[in-house]
């Protein structure tokens, strides 16, 4: 099979190498440092960042506590990958090539893709996503390695500021989505449903809040559509 040319990947890759790379890099840097602090090796840190590639699940795995609880906890914590892949799939085209995107479906590429892909011509969508996804995946890997190596140099206040970059980045993305009615409903419902997380076991909290808030927002949208 002839390898596809890389030039179509460039616009997506360039889009990733700004705020998304900084926000993601900061979080994965902090994760690398946390893995080193827990006494686990660079290989484990890289495996978690590049193969699990979802911070909530990575942190659950790092907590450990037995194979079955760790795997189940990480899966539940990252269960958002399922609805995210569903929301993204129609924009990636129907061909077998969309499966190239499989390992990269995670919050940051998903959020960027949902903003950009609908405005692109259909043939440019999958290459844009793959370019963005590859660039951010590589940044995540490099940042993890750097954090693992630099762990002794990172004080707790620096780590805390690095970890805050991620929610702040997502808050900025979500704020930009508030002008559209359907995302606005879902975002507000998610914030209102967030306290549900306190009544659930920690790995299930986010999933529970997202399912409740998202479903209510979806139903409200149906009513609005009918009325």
């Amino acid at each position: 099979m002839r390898l596809p040319p890389l030039a179509p990947l460039r616009p997506g890759a360039l889009a990733a190498l700004g705020a998304p790379a900084i926000a993601m890099g900061a979080t994965f840097l902090a994760f690398g440092a946390a893995v080193a602090a827990a006494g686990r090796g660079l290989g484990w840190a890289m495996g978690a960042s590049l193969l699990v590639y979802g911070m909530a699940g990575q942190l659950v795995l790092l907590q450990g506590g037995g194979v079955a609880p760790a795997v189940l906890g990480a899966t539940v914590a990252n269960a958002r990958f399922l609805p995210m892949a569903m929301a993204l799939a129609p924009w990636l085209g129907g061909g077998a090539r969309r499966w190239l995107s499989l390992p990269f479906i995670a919050i940051t590429p998903w959020a960027a893709a949902m903003r950009v892909l609908p405005g692109l011509p259909a043939p440019a969508r999958l290459p844009w996503f793959l370019g963005f996804a590859l660039a951010s995946w590589i940044v995540a890997g490099l940042a993890t390695a750097l954090g693992h190596a630099a762990a002794p140099l990172l004080s707790p206040p620096v780590l805390a500021a690095l970890l805050f970059a991620n929610p702040l980045y997502f808050a900025l993305l979500l704020a930009a989505e508030l002008r559209l009615p359907a995302p606005r409903r879902a975002i507000l419902a998610g914030v209102l449903a967030a306290p549900v997380a306190f009544w659930l076991p920690s790995a299930w909290g986010l999933l529970g809040a997202g399912l409740l808030g998202g479903t209510l927002a979806f139903l409200a949208g149906l009513r609005r559509g009918r009325g």
Binding site: L59, L82, M84, P156, L172, P183, I187, V191
Partner: protein
């Protein structure tokens, strides 16, 4: 194989399965299909719940940042991004700067 390595391997496989299920179920659907709209709403609600919890009730190292400093960081970032129409990168930088300054001022 060490316990941590086995857990990592199994979790990585589970992540692939979650992503593959999503692609498989919705690959043939149009973007305005109700199932896709529901999945998008759940994803967005999950993300906004994540932000709300990370700002108001964080765990780990972020919990050591006082709540007023976290709120100052969020407010400064959003103000820069939405009100002043700064780019993502500048808003992110301003938000983090406000967080660090507020934390320093509160000490």
């Amino acid at each position: 194989m060490a316990e941590a390595d086995l857990a990592l391997l199994l979790a990585a496989l589970a992540m692939l399965l979650l992503r593959a299920l999503g692609l498989l179920v919705a690959g043939a659907l149009r973007p305005d299909h109700p199932l896709v709209a529901w999945a998008a709403a759940v994803s967005q609600a999950t993300l906004s719940a994540f932000v709300a919890l990370a700002v108001l009730a964080p765990g780990g190292a972020v919990a050591a940042i006082p709540l007023p400093a976290r709120l100052a960081g969020l407010a400064a970032g959003l103000l820069a991004g939405v009100a002043l129409r700064r780019g993502l990168l500048a808003s992110l930088g301003l938000g983090l700067l406000a967080l660090i300054l507020a934390r320093w001022a509160l000490q």
